[in-house]
């Protein structure tokens, strides 16, 4: 050990934390990925990939997974009814903006007419979902992990059924439509031609793509900030060892409540955009299987690691929305190539889209049993502990005293 550093007021030496060597490489990869994603709609047009319409819901689902990751990955709470909050967000936005909603009868002309604006409705959706999360969490977060999971499952089942049954308000299984559209500079998203600054443009769904992208990016920034904050550390502590965390001054109930509520509020924004994008929402979009698919995305990529979650989301969503269909097509073609009618028929009966839940089920079982930490594990933990560290001499008295004295001893009371 070097000679003990003299600590002077305003010293910064201790804050310098050695840079992670992988970080630079990651930065470059990230930059390339970001450039590709930002330019995607034009590349899509240029090369005729025709996947833009698959990409938008895909990115929405990944944003949803990022929100669930707060609950499952950061705070370690298993939420099996996340789609319910998503539904609450989507329906909240629809209630405010749809001409067929019960609110449409009272809002126009009232002092609250401004609430029918999509952006306002989206913010309301965030608040309402976050509030719903707190409401469900408050009585249940003291429960043991597996019991909590079941409460969320029950909640996830109740919400879509309530939507189905409360027909006069929600339009039941038929669903709600149309839904207010986002707009910018007077251009209604998804309505062509769009007039911006006097130019008439045919943008198709491109504005939705960028809206989703922006919301996704905001989510990522927000989540990284939260993760590295006092609250984020408390989540990790609760997840790793609740008793020790309490011993460190962390209130487990409020900490979990924040996770539940913030996680839910992410799904609110996503739900609002999802509804506007599809222009129709119905209860069957928010059932148990949706919750499990989002959970699968979180777990496959690496619980607690947002890059892992995004990777998992990308894999599952691209399977679900792009490859399952194309693979099935290729298999059918391969069957036809053999020329044999029975083989062709056998190949044709094969449909990955019908078995998507089977694939997700297998995925869950395999990950849990073979690689429970997911593809990209939550960093840091080495395979083997460091055993050969030198035991450092703790005796150099002076420096220890100085270091100790640096820490305020008396707290103001």
């Amino acid at each position: 050990m070097q000679t003990a550093p003299r600590m002077t007021p305003g010293r910064r030496a201790y804050v310098e934390v050695p840079a992670d060597p992988q970080q630079t490489r990651n930065r470059i990869l990230q930059a390339i990925a970001v450039a590709f994603i930002v330019a995607y709609p034009f590349l899509d047009l240029l090369f005729g990939w025709q996947a833009l319409l698959a990409f938008i819901p895909m990115m929405l689902m990944i944003t949803l997974a990022l929100g669930l990751n707060i609950v499952v990955g950061y705070a370690g709470l298993l939420d099996l009814g996340y789609a319910a909050f998503y539904a609450i967000g989507a329906y909240a936005a629809a209630f405010f903006t749809s001409p067929n909603s019960p609110l449409a009868r009272v809002l126009p002309g009232s002092p609250f007419a401004w609430m029918q604006d999509f952006w306002v409705a989206m913010i309301m959706a965030v608040l309402v979902s976050g509030f719903a999360g707190a409401l469900l969490g408050a009585p249940t977060l003291r429960l043991r992990g597996d019991y909590l999971a079941l409460v969320t499952l029950g909640f996830g089942e109740i919400v879509p059924r309530l939507i189905k049954n409360l027909e006069p308000w929600t339009k039941g299984v038929k669903g709600m439509n149309p839904i207010g559209r986002p707009y910018l500079f007077g251009c209604q998203f998804g309505v062509d031609p769009c007039e911006i600054l006097g130019m008439k443009l045919k943008l198709g769904m491109i504005p939705y793509y960028y809206l989703t992208l922006v919301i996704g990016a905001i989510s990522i920034f927000a989540i990284i900030r939260l993760r590295n904050s006092r609250l984020g550390r408390a989540w990790a502590a609760i997840r790793d060892d609740e008793i020790a965390a309490q011993g460190m001054g962390i209130n487990p109930v409020t900490t979990k409540l924040w996770a539940f509520s913030l996680g839910a509020s992410f799904s609110g924004a996503t739900g609002a955009i999802f509804g506007a994008y599809l222009q129709t929402i119905s209860p069957d979009q928010f059932e148990y299987s949706t919750s499990v698919i989002v959970l699968c995305m979180v777990i496959l990529g690496g619980t607690g690691n947002i890059w892992g979650v995004m990777l998992g989301g990308l894999l599952i969503q691209s399977f679900d929305r792009i490859f399952a269909e194309r693979l099935t097509g290729w298999i059918h073609k391969a069957g036809a190539l053999t020329g044999d009618p029975t083989i062709t028929a056998a190949f044709n009966s094969f449909d990955l889209l019908k078995s998507r839940l089977l694939v997700f089920g297998l995925c869950l079982v395999l990950i849990m049993n073979l690689r429970p930490q997911g593809i990209l594990p939550n960093r840091k933990r080495r395979e083997t502990a460091l055993t050969d560290l030198p035991e450092e001499d703790l005796v150099p008295e002076e420096s220890v005293l100085i270091a100790g004295a640096d820490v305020p001893t008396e707290k103001p009371r």
């Binding site: 099996l80 909640f155 059924r161 189905k164 499990v292 777990i299 997700f360 089920g361 849990m368």
Partner: protein, 319 residues
């Protein structure tokens, strides 16, 4: 007193369904009692039990189906044998399946967090549902009407709106002895003792020379067998089976197990009958579409207000 008779009618239906729910709930409760895993796939094992039963029955008695199709005609004697064969095959099938599931999907996860086995169980549940879809398709299959539906109340010469049919009795004839047999097995036999010891303290049990892996497998086997029996009986009682019934029945049964006090055998019975009746009342007085909301609401309320259930003492003492 038509309204009272209506109430009684719902009670009868609820009781029969409650016994079926009990059989499935016992599977949850046994497994939870011993390894503290919520075997989420258990409902789907039950569903596959129903599918295996219908397959066996169809294979055995293609011509009998025609003869018994007329529901007032009393069945030919062989059908009882076939029913017995179907019952045994379904029980063996589900028992094996459940043991396999434990071996492949849960065993390695026993020592980790509570979350891991639950997630794995959800995965298994999806897999089994898809197996069900491949086996019998997405639309519900009809069960052969082997159990005649004779109204016993009327047969006794009482004129009443309430019907207690041979079907209701059939459910009781199969389920009650099974529950009694299981209780005796757990209370009286050496294996049952090993189960109770393992449930109380797995490590201590292991030290006392109990093969805990085998005991846990046995628990899954028993739970699976009961689910298999429930699969057959529910198919015959409701005349139909579909791949989604595992999820709904499973959750009803799970709610029953939690309500009674998960880990507690008597609790499962109490909870099963209660949930069966509650569902029937909700069907009868509210509307069938509200029943799931009522059941899930009950589940959540129980978990929030009294997570250890009505008879939860046993588990609390054990923990």
């Amino acid at each position: 007193m038509l309204t009272f008779e209506y109430f009684l009618q719902q009670l009868v239906t609820g009781l029969a369904n409650g016994m079926l729910i009990t059989l499935v709930a016992i599977g949850y409760t046994l497994v939870y009692g011993i390894v503290e895993i919520i075997n989420f796939a258990h409902g789907d094992v039950f569903m596959l039990g129903a599918f295996s039963s219908v397959t066996t029955l169809q294979a055995l008695g293609a011509q009998a189906v025609k003869r018994v199709a007329n529901k007032d005609q009393s069945p030919i004697p062989e059908t009882y044998l076939w029913l017995l064969i179907a019952l045994v095959t379904s029980m063996v099938f589900c028992a094996t399946l459940n043991v396999l599931i434990e071996r492949l999907a849960y065993r390695r996860l026993r020592r980790g967090s509570r979350m891991a086995p639950l997630i794995s169980a959800i995965g298994v549940s999806f897999i089994l549902q898809n197996v069900g879809i491949y086996w019998k398709g997405v639309s519900p299959v009809n069960f052969p009407r082997y159990i005649p539906q004779i109204d016993l109340v009327k047969a006794m010469g009482i004129d009443s709106f309430v019907r207690v049919t041979t079907k209701d009795v059939f459910v009781l004839i199969v389920t009650v002895p099974l529950v009694i047999a299981l209780t005796l097995f757990i209370q009286r036999t050496k294996l049952g003792k090993a189960m109770r010891a393992t449930a109380q303290d797995r490590d201590a049990a292991q030290l006392m020379g109990i093969d805990t892996n085998r005991t846990i497998a046995l628990t899954f086997l028993l739970g699976g067998a009961l689910a298999g029996a429930a699969g057959l009986v529910s198919g015959l009682y409701n005349n139909t089976a579909g791949f989604q019934m595992g999820f709904s029945y499973g959750l009803n049964s799970f709610t029953a197990a939690v309500l009674g006090g998960i880990g507690n055998l008597n609790g499962a019975m109490l909870g099963g009958v209660f949930i069966g009746i509650l569902a029937a009342m909700s069907d009868g007085y509210l509307d069938a579409r509200w029943t799931p909301v009522v059941i899930f609401g009950t589940l959540n309320l129980v978990l929030i207000i009294r997570p250890s259930g009505i008879l939860g003492q046993d588990l609390a003492e054990r923990a």
